[in-house]
């Protein structure tokens, strides 16, 4: 089965003057439809870079990122990175301008190219209701709690009904119960709608309910091993090295 998202041999580094910092050294991973994959890393481990590269918003220096079997860089044909219509990117910074008086208009924004303003608004309202935050529809971003902001950011990303959702630190600043609500919601979206989800998290308990979990450090990604199917005497290689997800 072709994975929804695949990263193969991805390398990404940043230069500060003459010094190169390798953030992703040689990262390979997969996300299937209906699968929730969570990656944890310490501060500055490269989680945001991984999420941006996976969403196609950053171009790797080396390696290939494929969505639904197609290389994201080939799809762009050398143009600037932009979000593929089948990928939802969760941005917790909220509206970048003060034009949105109401949350429902902000959530409707990604639909304005393909829907009438009224239709976009209707679908945005329905998405807010589905995430249990219908009462935020007429609120302003500034008046929302951290938990509500995260759910609104998810609604903003999900309203286009993407096949893949990529979220960088969606659980940051949430308390335990708010976090449970958000990860539980992501789990249900993966199970019930077949959405493939990649999230990065600042705290390991946020990885609860994930199908696969990973740890990013020194530019390398360690991913949880798949359980052996049956004990048939096969020796399982367990080197503790980087593995593909």
């Amino acid at each position: 089965m072709v994975p929804l998202l695949s990263l193969d041999g991805v390398r990404k580094s940043y230069w500060r003057g003459p010094h190169e910092t390798v953030v992703l050294a040689d990262v390979s991973m997969r996300v299937q439809a209906g699968e929730l994959v969570a990656v944890w890393g310490q501060r500055a481990a490269g989680k945001t870079t991984l999420a941006l590269v996976a969403a196609g918003l950053e171009t790797p220096d080396r390696g290939i990122v494929r969505f639904d079997g197609q290389s994201l860089s080939e799809l762009r044909r050398g143009g600037a990175p932009r979000l593929h219509e089948g990928i939802g990117w969760v941005q917790r910074t909220g509206p970048q301008s003060g034009d949105f008086r109401m949350i429902v208009d902000y959530v409707a924004l990604p639909l304005l190219g393909t829907h009438s303003p009224r239709g976009a608004r209707r679908r945005a309202s329905s998405m807010l209701k589905r995430l249990g935050i219908a009462d935020c529809a007429s609120a302003r971003w500034g008046s929302l709690t951290d938990g509500e902001r995260t759910l609104v950011a998810l609604a903003h990303a999900l309203v286009r009904e993407p096949k893949l959702l990529v979220a960088d630190d969606p659980t940051a600043n949430l308390n335990v119960l708010q976090r449970e609500e958000v990860v539980g919601l992501l789990r249900r979206a993966a199970d019930e709608e077949g959405l493939g989800i990649l999230i990065t998290v600042p705290d390991m308990p946020d990885m609860a309910y994930a199908d696969r979990i990973g740890s990013l450090s020194d530019g390398r990604l360690i991913v949880s091993s798949e359980p052996p199917p049956v004990d048939d005497g096969t020796v399982i290689d367990f080197p503790g090295r980087q593995q593909s997800a």
């Binding site: 539980g184 390991m204 450090s217 020194d218 360690i222």
Partner: protein
């Protein structure tokens, strides 16, 4: 720590027979690694101390069993003892690992191998973490969980956090070891 207090807590929540209690202990405290047989020794010990008592299962004839099962329930003395235990302060348990000892006593020449071992142990921690998270279902993630539901989440978080602290330490130790190796590669006298 023995399973005694956990078993007493389960019996206070709801009386049950041995096998039932072993299953409930596994569901609630699987990460503690207690053997199911530990439930029986805990029940024996609790019964000797008059903290639990066994009563015969009612209506066992209809189940077709030759002998009625012993249902364990808490005694008033057991409930008092449990409440006193809840009220007591709890000291954190020290966690000591074999790898820490190797790092403490190994020479500089072993650093490459120790770095490999930090990767291997990190992989094991990630697999343990996966096993821990797989056992949970998100049914608890309701908007207004009860205290019982929240307590289960907190317990799981405590287990996961222990692994997180270990992984952070492994990554930090690896960084230090790599730095020392790099430095000695540049200046062999510094090792």
């Amino acid at each position: 720590m023995s399973a005694k207090h956990a078993v007493l807590g389960l019996v206070i929540e709801q009386p049950g027979y041995g096998y039932q209690l072993a299953r409930r202990l596994e569901e609630r405290c699987g990460a503690w690694g207690w053997e199911p047989s530990g439930v029986y020794s805990a029940l024996d010990s609790l019964a000797r101390e008059d903290h639990v008592r066994s009563v015969r299962e009612k209506g066992s004839r209809t189940t077709g069993r030759a002998a009625p099962r012993a249902i364990y329930e808490a005694t008033p003395r057991g409930v008092d003892y449990f409440h006193e235990w809840i009220m007591e302060s709890s000291a954190p348990s020290p966690v000591r690992q074999e790898l820490d000892l190797k790092i403490l006593f190994s020479g500089h020449e072993f650093l490459p191998r120790l770095i490999d071992q930090t990767w291997a142990q990190e992989q094991m921690c990630i697999d343990d973490l996966k096993a821990l998270t797989s056992a949970m279902q998100p049914g608890l993630a309701s908007r207004r969980p009860t205290w019982r539901e929240a307590a289960i989440i907190l317990q799981r978080d405590a287990e996961i956090k222990l692994l997180q602290v270990r992984i952070e330490w492994l990554q930090n130790a690896r960084k230090v070891m790599k730095e020392i190796l790099d430095r000695s590669a540049r200046d062999p006298r510094s090792g």
